[in-house]
């Protein structure tokens, strides 16, 4: 008779051993390469998600939300009219990284990615020959784009690198098919717009996640009484991120180019204890008329939400101040160009909250841009309009290169220039309802030129196409639509906008 190989007890023991397979797999070490151009400065871009320039005291906001950035700006170049490429992360980040407008790179939808030809046309690829490139983002949408640009990134960090708790499984697996796998993971396990496609495992995963979240929130409840800063399934603190950046500045091979995209002050506005109720001052901004795209938000709740956002901005400011002090004291700023910016703004007015809107009013598209050049000692202020598409050519100039032909931005003046007032046209585009490969049929496009901003809304259901014209210098709150009363100005801007639209959007 044949001997039994395994009995029931042994079988159960074996099952217990299976749990060992859940142990983390050690990360693959990335080999660092030797890079030519050792005398070039390092470049560090720091993007704070959803940071609106209109809510920063640096740019004249009545609440003192950014005292540390203001102090740091005394040694940098402050751009007062800097615009995002779109009004949410996908077009905003893609424009920053490719130096082109959304009508070219076509990352226009939620979960959108750039078209294939732009996988080789981006800031990482351009700087990779002279700089060691590395990137990190908290943001799921930006992470898709960074994976598209992976060829030019020497070290792309996983989201879990800067998280207290991460449930992104594709970060560790399926790197070679990241975009489809990442979108599928969302659909299978943590779909936000519908129930997840997995019936059972998603429930188990959600329970596990929920339990971990409770433990984490208990641990940090004193420090973050409104909850730990998070993005659906990623929990983090800025303290952790800033400490990490400090380490990177010391350890990365020089010269380096680092792109770091941190989620605060994006919603939820879970600020740190010392900023809670900091702006409980009863102040509220000017009343503005309801937009035609109003979401019908309750106006009584708007000041409270804005206050929470401002308090979260103050947390971002304090942590940035800590980073800046480190960079100064460690003399890192002597050979590093530091850029602080955002991907888009945030709004609490006209019946609209946050940034998921067809509108392009200043709070949602005007973002900060401050550039600290190596050894810059004096503050400079630039008042002419600039766009995030200008960052790529500007950095290439720092690296001694010229902008590629496909780039739609211009190298902008930084430390050594006088105030520039020239009339240059820049654009902001919101087109999330259009497919990637068709002309833009339903969109909002703003043309900013000199003091004026013309916004064209077209193709929206049950709304006629229309224009809005504002003089931003005289009416920064965009309260008086000059489209009818300034016909000649309106006509010339309209003609220019329609001409560019016809040229750029008809594929």
């Amino acid at each position: 008779m044949r001997e039994e190989l395994i009995n029931r007890r042994d079988f159960l023991k074996l099952l217990g051993l299976l749990s060992l397979t859940m142990l983390p797999v050690p990360e693959r070490k990335v080999e660092r390469k030797k890079i030519p151009g050792q005398d070039l400065p390092n470049i560090l871009i720091l993007v704070f998600d959803s940071l609106s320039a209109t809510n920063m005291s640096l740019y004249g906001y009545p609440r003192q939300t950014t005292p540390h950035i203001q102090q740091a700006a005394e040694k940098g170049t402050v751009f007062h009219r800097h615009y995002a490429g779109g009004n949410f992360t996908v077009p905003g980040t893609a424009s920053l990284l490719t130096g082109t407008y959304p009508w070219s790179h076509r990352a226009i939808n939620l979960n959108g990615i750039v078209i294939d030809s732009f996988e080789d046309r981006n800031i990482f690829r351009e700087l990779n020959s002279t700089h060691h490139t590395f990137a990190y983002t908290h943001n799921t949408l930006t992470n898709l784009q960074l994976h598209q640009f992976r060829e030019g990134i020497d070290q792309l960090y996983k989201r879990s690198e800067l998280s207290l708790l991460s449930n992104h499984y594709t970060d560790g697996l399926l790197q070679d098919d990241f975009i489809a796998a990442s979108l599928a993971e969302e659909l299978i396990l943590w779909n936000q717009n519908a129930p997840p496609s997995s019936s059972l495992i998603s429930r188990l995963d959600r329970s596990k996640r929920h339990y971990s979240e409770i433990l984490l929130n208990q641990k940090y409840s004193h420090q973050f009484p409104r909850g730990i800063p998070n993005s659906t399934i990623l929990y983090f603190t800025l303290e952790q991120a800033i400490d990490w950046i400090q380490a990177q500045v010391k350890e990365q091979p020089k010269p380096f180019f680092g792109y770091i995209h941190l989620l605060p002050p994006h919603y939820p506005y879970n600020t740190r204890q010392d900023f809670v109720d900091l702006f409980n001052d009863g102040w509220s901004p000017k009343d503005k008329p309801e937009s035609i795209f109003s979401e019908g938000r309750q106006t009584s709740q708007t000041p409270g939400l804005r206050r929470q956002y401002d308090e979260f901005v103050a947390y971002v400011d304090a942590e940035f101040g800590r980073l800046f002090s480190f960079l100064e004291s460690s003399h890192a700023l002597e050979d590093t160009q530091l850029i602080l910016t955002s991907d888009h703004g945030e709004m609490f007015e006209r019946g609209i909250w946050f940034h998921n809107t067809p509108t392009l009013y200043e709070p949602v598209v005007k973002i900060p841009l401050i550039i600290w050049n190596p050894r810059q000692a004096q503050r400079k202020d630039v008042y002419h309009p600039t766009s995030c598409v200008d960052i790529l050519p500007t950095l290439l100039k720092t690296a001694g290169k010229t902008a590629p032909e496909w780039c739609e931005g211009e190298a902008i003046s930084t430390a050594n220039s006088q105030v520039n007032t020239r009339d240059r046209s820049i654009f902001v585009i919101e087109a999330k309802e259009n497919p990637v490969n068709t002309p833009l049929n339903r969109a909002t496009v703003a043309l900013i030129k000199g003091d004026y901003k013309l916004t064209h809304y077209f193709g929206y259901e049950q709304k006629q196409d229309f224009f809005e014209l504002f003089n931003i210098a005289e009416d920064p709150e965009e309260l008086v639509n000059l489209y009818e009363s300034h016909p000649s100005r309106a006509r010339s801007l309209k003609n220019e906008l329609l001409e560019v639209l016809a040229d750029k959007t008809n594929l």
Partner: protein
Amino acid sequence: MKVIKRRLPTRREILLLLMVCVLPIHFRSILIFLHGLPSFLLSTSVWDTVGVFSYVQAFSLLESVVIIAAFLFICISLPSKIFRDKFVAQGTVLIVLTTLWVVPLHYQASILSGLNWNIRAYQVIAAIWVITYLVGIVLSFLMIRTNQKTEYLINRSVERILPLSSFYLLLDAVCIMVLVYRLVS
């Protein structure tokens, strides 16, 4: 090994129950995918959309296999007469009832806000949910054990769904090939 083998159902029974399991899980995942399809078509290429679909289907197959593995574990762990002897019929009832009862779990947040976050009312609803689920299973198992016709009807129904389940399994095979191609190329 022999002890384990003795407690396991036959291959045919395992395959039959896998077919039952595949049906609701795949039906649901395809439905959810179709819900998200317009958004995928807007933002990604057709090939990436095919990739997303393939991952979703492959995961559904994995989930079905995990559930069947759990059933087999029950068979091994419990005396044969409790579960193994009526494997297909009792397994089918478990799958169907669980599928139906799992649906409200995905709407917890809506239910809670519908109750104005009244936790007490929510707890009552949750208790009713658990009790009806357990009572449903016990009653169904009793019916299967006491009434041969019930078992016969369930087994007949299982055989009738085989063509559709086979289609889903075929689809899974194609999806796995797509994924292998995507990962290798």
